[in-house]
Structures are given as structure tokens and as C-alpha cells.
Symmetry: C2
Subunit: 653 residues, 2 copies
């Protein structure tokens, strides 16, 4: 039995903070020579480029941020699940559908685990996926445009945390339920959770050509909390592994009640077997209601389709597909080494790491080495699947990544450190403190068959005194370590925007050459595009007024519009006629209950404006585009609702 | 007459880009020794702190970002004029009022010119002000909490660009109209602009104790575009200077039609004289409608007051208060040197800088050296006020800052460079290229009597190849130069979030010691605060359900709630009971048409949730707060609208 009590847990938290802060001075190594060397290692001189991209989840920003390594500079915040006033994402007519769900328009989420698409277990740099935790969704982002292209809602789920990891050939992106719920949802007492609530593990197929996502099946599991997951690879390709906690099935005061069992489980899923079962007509078509939002690069517009059915699978109907591997002390991270042999479960209330062996697991399954079952699912004998235990000497292990040279790196939240250890011998090789309380860590390619083990980035949850103070609310903090030698070397601290929950890194040369520079105007299929200034016009359709406007340095066509009336709904459809890299134009109009538009070359975007007051109201370009940017403006005359003034528009007359 | 034609202007824009990109390789200085030295100059070792804070306007993000210098690391994005899903600003009940305007709720703006409060012409580090450009507003941000405390709308204005600069003792923060409009607004033909549209210059008083803002008066000026402004200081304290363009009063194709006059004006305003006039009952009380939004730190809540009147002043009614200084070629930047003697107007279509002398101006006024008038306002003779001309050799001068050692630094957008020159002799001392197309620049304290002239930061509008590419949309880019020697030395490039339109810097020691670490729970006067777990409760008021919830590592009280029904409006009032630095808790509930809450220690925040479906729905903490953060969750049972289930709530039962 876990012996942690309420009080002890509280103290642990405080102790961690105090310890961490006490360690602070150790970070202030001021030996000149060392600093000089580290300074050079992270310095990217003006005009030169970083070696790696790092895609950091925004956590509670709901977005995905793009950093360069080793410099730690943020290159972009890609809006995914949250409204983004900066570019108009979630405000423009074209992008609002991206945030539709079965609960209506949801302007925010909590994005956690980015994962780059793979081919043969190696990063292929086509797409990156990320999960929305709160209102369960999976997003796909293009690594050519660096824009969100697709979001699919996940029904029968809650707290979509053990997501969004991909299989070795991106056959599937996987999503698992952290908070079990009644499936289907129904009005029932919360204290009848045990045996009634369930968790779903969703396998979402990815179209190999376009990346389009579709829920292939959901496995309906016992009502545990499914925390994290990783795919098998190499020899274990075809399997997927999920950590669980709250196998106690507690439904209140979980910090105590979910910490009672000495061991929880890693769930091992033979998804190939389940896929075959479903392909042969297995599973249950269950009524459902979930949004599928797809952004079309040629129309520059997203559309929402509400899907009404999902295939669910009872694991008991597919013998040999689902097993439980006992794993001590509320395992959090669930990581698979590059060979696919080792499955590491980090008990977050433990000091030791539990390493399971895929070969042992297969032998135990073959030999039926079971230790009972849970809701009919066989529990494999712990000793039979165990490969080894890492006696870490730390406290609160969370996540592990790999360098491709036979070493693993595990984070410890409570003892605030990264520990390097050797796969197979389980010996601890090195340890370095983190400032403070590290969660995930990231080695580029560290979740694939081919890691690029030059740097590890620690993603720390607590910042405190690491930077100049900025009031009660601080950014979180990352630290980059050089791992090219035997010992890890801390190089640099850099703040991260939002919560950098997890990250995915990739060498620059795999992405940079195919990064799109602008959209071809000739390919623009937006129904309200204005492909040349001569096509600009203003059209009334009842109370809707559609303004077909073009923009090029340094004017809008038209720039004077009359005949709009109070009570009209005015659609500014702006097409950016530029055909060069990094020449966006912005568009804003006074008093709009809306954000701006940021329109890339070749793109059309639409802002809705409902003028409430008569007058002559200006609009202007919001992105400094040329020497005469300040002159890039126009006016809309708004007449009373009963005015007879006809629509007219002009430029330069 | 300006001879620029439509075509030439277009070409200029393209030429600038081509030239800039051509210069790219010059930035790739790869001499090892130099790089090593520069690397050390910008490197801030783990555990050490930056020397300066740099507050960068977010431009079209609507926010204010906080960076450290020399490292170029971003420490925080402070939401100001835009919704910010990350923290719930503009989504929570407490902060929604901050974005109210006379046009209703406006979720975005374009923030341009931060300016730090001053005492005796020196930075005092109490507050920072910033303007909203699109729907005219001025915001005040606390430099203790780094939160937006107040936003006041500016009536009779449009394109609030020549803002938000403060006078020498922060008596006023000033806001000027970029786009002239009918005052008051009315339905009239746009082509009757000339002589009918007007621009207002607003002087907003700042309460010396609390910083509260109030519009003292608006000067109603001719219908020019008022582009930028700066205060007099030292000998010129009591005056304010505004650049104008479009003295042609064109209302269409401004890139051509506003560039016809050889000279536009700098408007010199003796605000002390106008203040005295208003204090003596002068001016007209004009009906108006504008929002004044104030955030109260003790209730953690903002309230909106709609104000109904503003005092306007006709400049002709205050003789000796307003003059025009002719200034060549559509002056953009309007900068005053630390002594207050020199007023620099940078004609953006020029190669030369025009420097006016305050002493000359006073003598010309005294001697009535007029060159006619514009709408009754005397135009001073150009030659009488001119102090000198800087023959820059560059093209497209925009902005100038000062190092406090007798030197000025001017940016050139078209020739993409910073030019250092000497005040008084007007000789050019040094020039360095920028990558690419620099707008503003910033020296900490550079807009005060006491600049801290160690670094200058160039805020570049175009990025292109400076960083790893991230699709068509790139961040803008800053460059930091060491200016401690005779020659400027480029140290580093770093991207900036949003558009870093302008920035304000201040030495770290002036702010860091007074940065607030958390809010005292004992001072929390929020009407729905839950000051202890024992006070947690759920109260029904018709269809409104108020949940008084407390949060501390690692649970919510209560964590199980029943009796909520479809059709209810549920208010989660969450109080963070922690009393330690950097221990926020987050709160989110599945399916909310809302963002999360991010709640600082001691604070109460409220999220509204309108459940539409029966079921048992989870909520959880979104900010990784402790080793048992994952367990920090709860459930709300939602029953049908006609259910008789009574409200109940619990923790651990």
C-alpha cells in the first residue's frame, strides 16, 4: 500500500520548492571560462541559423510554439486550439470553424504533447500533431505552412491527456482518456464511479497522402485514468502502451485516494489485432456527435462536419489484444526506447524506474503468466515482464527520452533533476539539477527509432528567480544541456511561452528547405477572392454587404466606400495581392467587435463588422509593410438604417 | 512639391526589400573571435539576470511583451487590448470589462507606443502606458504586478497613433488622432473631407497617487494626420510636439495624394497654457460616450464606467498655445533630445533629418516670425526655427533616440540602417545596417532626460531569412547593438512576438526589487472569494449557480458537485489559497465556451459555464503545480432541466 498521507504530500510539494530554490545558487556558476564556452555553444550569430527546430506545446495557451535550438529563441506561436487575436485565428470567418465542437464554439484548450509524423519510425517532418486536453481534440499542423490544418474532436473522452502520439508509419495518432466518464454520458451519481465510469483509447487513422484524420475505433477500457502513452517501434511495432493511475477508481480527493494501490498498470494494446478485428466488421457502431474541422489551403477556409457515429470495441471481444503490466506507484510517463525493446514506466511517487521488456511481455503472454485480471483483462505477472529497475536516487520520476547511443534521460519533478542512465545495465551515469521541478524533457527525435542526441531540453514547471521578476505571473522555463559528452552540461536557461508541457525536436535541414514562402494567387479558390484590383467591388445582399477588397503596397482597392447603413453586416473579404515572402498585410476597422486580419501573400481573409453608429469610419493596414504604410488606409461611410444612399466605392477618384 | 509617383513609390518598396536581402550576407560575420566576444556580451548565464527590462509593444497582438536585455529573452506577454486565452484575460468575469468600449466589447487592438512614467523627466518605474490604435484607447499597466490596471477610451479620435507619451512628471499621457474624422461623427460624403474632418489631440491627466486617468481636454485641430509625438523636457517642459502628414487633407489614395506637399508640420502645443485656460473655465463641454475601465487589485475585478462628456478646446481660443513648424516630406518620428532643446522631425520620404531648436522657436514666436497660417494657426518660418539639418546619406528616416552623451541614433526604413550622429554639429559618426527595414529603435531611457546609453535595439519590420523559416508568417525581428564605444556593434538578432512597434527600456534595478510576488489572501475583497476551504459552498439563485471554490496543492474544495441542471449558468469562483511566489493554479471544465482561468496566489477568478448536455463532467487544474497535479480534478453532475436533484457538494466523502 502507498503510505503517503494528505499531510506528507503537502509537505513534499513544499519541500520540493524549498530544495529547488536552495539549489539556485548552484546554477550561478560564474567561472568565466566555462561561461564563455557555454555562451559560444548557444550563440547563433546574426545571419546564421539554429541547428534544430523545437516545437513546444503551449500547454494552457492552447497553441504550439516554435523555437530554435541551441539559441532558445521563439520563432512563432502557431494558434491551434485557442483564439489568437494577433492573426485573427478563431475570429475571421475562415478560421472560426476550426474551433467548433459538439459543445459549440470553444475558444481555448490545453495543448500537451506534440508529436511529429514518422515513416519507418523516423521523423519525416510532414506534420505535427497535438492534443487538446480539456475538450478532447487532436490537431494536425502542416510543417510546410506551419498552420493548423485539421482538428478532430474525440467523443467518449475527457481530459484527453495520453495523446497525441503516432505509430511508426503514422498509421494512427492515438488519444486516451485521462478522466473516465460514463460512456455514453448520462445523469448518474458521481460516487457510483467505480465499475460504471470508463475510459476510451482512440485510434485515429491518418490518410498517408493528405494527413486527414478519422477515428478508426475506440477501445472502451475500465474506468482508470490513462495518463500517457507511446507507440511500440521496431520489434514492438503494432503495439501501443498507456500508463494508468487511479486504478483505485476513486472519484474524490484523488491526491489521496488515487495513491493507495502499490502498483497501477501499463496497458499494452495490440492495435494491429484490433484493427484487423474492426476491418472484419468487429466493433459496435455507437451514436456520437463530434466535430471534424478541416482547413483547405486552396480556399483558405475551414469547414466543420459533425460526425454522428463512432466504432467502439470491447477489449474482451478481441482476445490477445489488451494486457495490463503492473507498474509501481502511479506511473506517469510511458516511454519506449529506440529499439522498441524497453517500455519504461515512471512511478511518480517512486524513486525507482520500472523497465519492462517487450520480449518478456510476449513470452508472458505466450505462457499465460497471468496474475489475475481486471474487468476481464489479463494482468501479466510483474516479475515476468520486468527487464530491470533503475535505482535512481531521485524522487518523482516523470519522463524519459533517449539519445540513440544506448542512454536514457529521466526527469525527476520532486528532486528537480535529470538523470542519465544506461539501457540494459540500468546504471546511473550522470545527474544534473534543473531549475525548478522539471516535467517533460526533449531530445530531438527522442521519441523515434532515430534520436539526434546532441541536446536535451528540460521543461521546467516552476520558474521563481530564474529571470528578472515580472509580477506574480511568470513564464515557465526551459534549460538546454549539451549531451554530446559523457556528462550533461547545462548551457542556458530560456523562458517558454505558455506551459511547455512537452516538445518535439527535429534537425533544421529536414524542415527548412520545404517551408512555404507564400501562397500562389493563381491557386486561390476562395469564393470571395479579389484576384486583381479591377475585380474589387461591393455587393449588397439584403443586410449583408460583401466588400471584395484587394491590397498591395501601399493601398486598398477600394479605399472609399459609401452606402453602408447601420444594421448592416459588412464582410470585408481582403485578398493580399503580394507574391513575395514576408509581405503580409493587416486589416482593421475601428470599433469592430473582432480582431484584426493578418493576410499572407496570395491569401483571402474575411472580417465581419456590424457598424452601430452613423459616421465616417477608418480602416487601415496593421502590418508595417512599406515606407508608405502609414498612408495605407480608407474610409467607410455609415448612413442611418433608413438611408437611400446607394453603394459606391472608389480609389483615387 | 514632392515628385514621387505611384509607380516610384511601389518600386521604392520593392527596392528596399531587395537591397535588404542583398545585405543579408553582411550579417553573417563569422570571424570566430568577434563572435566569441559578442556571444559573451549577450549571454546571461543560468541563475544570473539581465541588465535591463525592455517593454515591447505587441503591435497587432494588442499586448505588451517584456524582454530582458542583452539576452533578448521574452519573460512575459502582458495582455492589454486583446483577449488572452492563456490567462483568461477578456474571458473571465473579472477581466471582461477591461475590453468594453462605446462600440461594445472589442477583443483586440493594435498597441504601439509604450512609455514608462517619469518624475522630473527621469523614468520612475511606476507604470507603463500604451495606446490602442484602432479603437482609440490608452492603457496603464502596473510595473509592480505587470498587469493592466486601467483602459480609457478616447472619443473624437481614430487611429490613435501619436500616443501614449507622458509629460515630464507624468502630469499627462497624450493621445493624438492619426485619421481625422467628422467631429462629432456624422453621415457625410468622404470626398468632403477637406475642411470638414478634424483631428483631436487629447491630454489625459494621470492621478499622481494611483495613476487613474481622466481626459482633461481635447484640442480640436485641422484635419491632418497626427502621426507621432513627444513631450518637451527641461527647458521645453510644458510643450508637446506632434508630427503631421496629409496636410493636403486627401481622403483617397493617400500613398500618392498625401505626399504632394514639400513640407508638412510639427504641431507645437503649449499644454500648460491650455491647461490654465481649461482650469479657468475655458473649453466646451461636448457630449460624448466613452468607456473607462478600471481594475481593482483588492477585488481582483474590473468595472466599466461610461463617460458622457469631454472638454474640447478650439486652438484659436487660446492664443499663443498652438503653432506649426514646417518640416519636410511627411515627417513621421518626432523626437526631443534629453536637454529639451532639439526637436527632430524625420521626413520619411527624405534623406535628411530636420532639427528644430526650442530656443529658436520661442524667439520666432516672440518675434512673430510667421509664414502665414493654417486654419488660423500660425505657421512659424522654417528658417527661423531650424537648428540644423543632418545630411544622413540614408533614405526613409523614421525615429531617433539618444544616448545621453550628446549622440542621436536615427533609423532608416528604406536604406535599412541605424545612423549615429552628433547633436549640435549634425555630423554623422557611424552607420550600421539592420536586417531588415527598421522602424523604431530603443535605448533604455532614450525618451527621457536620463538615457542609459549602453545598448540600442533596432525593431525591424521585415524578417525574411534571419531565422529558420516557419512558413509564410514570420515573427518580426529585433537586433541589439552595443553603443558603449564610438562605433555601434551588432551583437545579436532575436525575434519579437507580435509587432514590436516601439519599446521602452529601464535598468533592472529600478523595477526588480518592487515586483509583487503574490497577492495577500487577507486583502482579497472579491465578493465571491473563498478565503478558507471551510467557506466553500454552492448557492443557487434561480438559474444561476455560484460555486465558491478554493484551491490549494493538490485539490479543489469542493471536488464533487451535484444538482446542476441543463440551462443553468454556472459561475465557478475560484480562490487560490497559496501564499507563495509562482504557485498559480489553473481551472478548466470540459466543453466551456470560454478560456481557462489562471489564478495567482491570493486571487479569485470566475469562469462561466453553461452546460448543454446531461452527464458527469470533469474539471481540473491546468497549471502543473505539484507532484500530484494530475490528481487535481473534480466532477460536476449535470441533470436534466426538469430534475429535482438538490445542490450538494463534497470533498473526500
Amino acid at each position: 500500500m502507498k503510505k503517503y498521507t494528505y499531510l506528507v504530500l503537502g509537505l513534499l510539494g513544499f519541500a520540493a520548492l524549498l530544495t529547488s530554490c536552495g539549489n539556485g545558487n548552484q546554477g550561478k556558476s560564474s567561472s568565466g571560462a566555462l561561461n564563455s564556452s557555454n555562451a559560444e555553444k548557444v550563440y547563433v550569430a546574426p545571419g546564421e541559423h539554429d541547428e534544430f527546430y523545437a516545437f513546444m506545446s503551449g500547454g494552457y495557451s492552447g497553441n504550439l510554439t516554435v523555437y530554435g535550438l541551441p539559441s532558445g529563441r521563439m520563432f512563432k506561436e502557431i494558434p491551434v486550439f485557442s483564439q489568437f487575436p494577433t492573426s485573427g485565428y478563431g475570429y475571421s470567418e475562415e478560421t472560426k470553424p476550426m474551433l467548433n465542437t459538439s459543445h459549440g464554439f470553444v475558444p481555448w484548450d490545453d495543448s500537451h504533447h506534440p508529436d511529429i509524423s514518422q515513416t519507418n519510425g523516423e521523423l519525416d517532418g510532414r506534420w505535427i500533431f497535438i492534443n487538446g486536453n480539456n475538450t478532447p481534440r487532436i490537431a494536425r499542423i502542416s510543417l510546410s505552412t506551419f498552420e493548423t490544418e485539421e482538428i478532430i474532436e474525440v467523443p467518449n473522452s475527457a481530459g484527453n491527456h495520453s495523446s497525441s502520439f503516432v505509430t511508426e508509419n503514422t498509421e494512427y495518432v492515438v488519444a486516451g482518456t485521462r478522466f473516465s466518464v460514463p460512456i455514453p454520458q448520462r445523469d448518474m451519481p458521481i460516487n457510483q464511479y467505480k465499475g460504471n465510469f470508463q475510459g476510451s483509447l482512440s485510434f485515429i487513422s491518418v490518410d498517408p497522402e493528405h494527413g486527414h484524420m478519422d477515428i478508426k475505433f475506440q477501445i472502451i477500457m475500465p474506468g482508470f485514468n490513462y495518463d500517457l502513452s507511446h507507440p511500440g517501434r521496431g520489434k514492438s511495432h503494432g503495439w501501443f502502451f498507456f500508463t494508468t493511475y487511479n486504478t483505485e477508481e476513486a472519484s474524490t480527493l484523488q491526491e489521496v485516494n488515487s495513491s493507495q494501490n502499490d502498483k497501477d498498470f501499463i496497458a499494452a494494446i495490440n492495435w494491429k489485432k484490433v484493427e484487423e478485428y474492426v476491418n472484419n466488421g468487429g466493433g459496435t457502431k455507437m451514436p456520437a456527435n463530434y466535430a471534424h474541422n478541416v482547413y483547405d489551403e486552396s480556399t483558405h477556409t475551414a469547414t466543420t462536419t459533425m460526425k454522428k457515429e463512432v466504432v467502439t470495441v470491447n477489449p474482451l471481444d478481441v482476445p490477445g489484444a489488451v494486457f495490463f503490466l503492473p507498474t509501481p506507484k502511479s506511473p506517469h510517463g510511458c516511454d519506449v526506447d529506440p529499439t522498441g525493446q524497453y517500455i519504461i514506466g515512471n512511478g511518480k511517487l517512486s524513486a525507482d524506474l520500472t523497465v519492462h521488456s517487450f520480449d518478456n511481455m510476449m513470452a508472458a503472454i505466450e505462457g499465460k503468466k497471468f496474475d489475475g485480471e481486471a474487468y476481464g483483462i489479463p494482468i501479466l505477472k510483474f516479475e515476468e515482464v520486468l527487464a530491470g529497475t533503475v535505482k535512481s536516487g531521485g524522487l518523482g520520476p516523470l519522463h524519459t527520452e533517449f539519445d540513440g547511443a544506448g542512454n536514457a534521460y529521466t526527469t525527476f519533478f520532486i528532486s528537480s533533476e535529470v538523470v542519465k542512465w544506461k539501457l540494459g545495465t540500468w546504471e546511473v551515469i550522470d545527474r544534473k539539477p534543473t531549475y525548478y521541478s522539471v516535467g517533460h524533457l526533449m531530445i530531438p527525435g527522442g521519441n523515434s527509432r532515430k534520436p539526434f542526441g546532441k541536446y536535451v531540453v528540460a521543461l521546467n514547471k516552476i520558474t521563481k528567480d530564474r529571470y528578472l521578476p515580472v509580477g506574480p505571473e511568470m513564464e515557465h522555463s526551459a534549460q538546454i544541456y549539451d549531451i554530446s559528452g559523457d556528462k550533461m552540461e547545462l548551457l542556458y536557461d530560456f523562458p517558454t511561452h505558455g506551459e511547455p508541457h512537452y516538445a518535439a525536436g527535429i534537425p533544421a535541414e529536414l524542415l527548412a528547405p520545404k517551408s512555404k514562402k507564400f501562397y500562389k494567387l493563381a491557386d486561390n479558390k476562395h469564393p470571395y477572392a479579389t484576384l486583381g484590383a479591377a475585380d474589387a467591388k461591393v455587393v449588397r445582399d439584403g443586410k449583408d454587404v460583401h466588400i471584395y477588397m484587394s491590397t498591395i503596397r501601399s493601398h486598398f482597392t477600394p479605399d472609399n466606400i459609401e452606402g453602408v447603413k447601420v444594421g448592416d453586416k459588412v464582410y470585408f473579404h481582403i485578398t493580399n495581392q503580394e507574391q513575395d515572402f514576408d509581405v503580409p498585410h493587416g486589416f482593421a476597422v475601428i470599433g469592430a467587435n473582432n480582431s484584426e486580419l493578418l493576410i499572407m501573400p496570395g491569401q483571402t481573409k474575411t472580417l465581419v463588422w456590424e457598424p452601430k453608429q452613423v459616421g465616417v469610419w477608418p480602416f487601415y493596414c496593421t502590418d508595417f509593410c512599406s515606407a508608405l504604410h502609414q498612408e495605407m488606409q480608407g474610409y467607410v461611410r455609415v448612413s442611418p438604417a433608413n438611408s437611400n444612399l446607394e453603394l459606391s466605392w472608389s480609389l483615387g477618384d
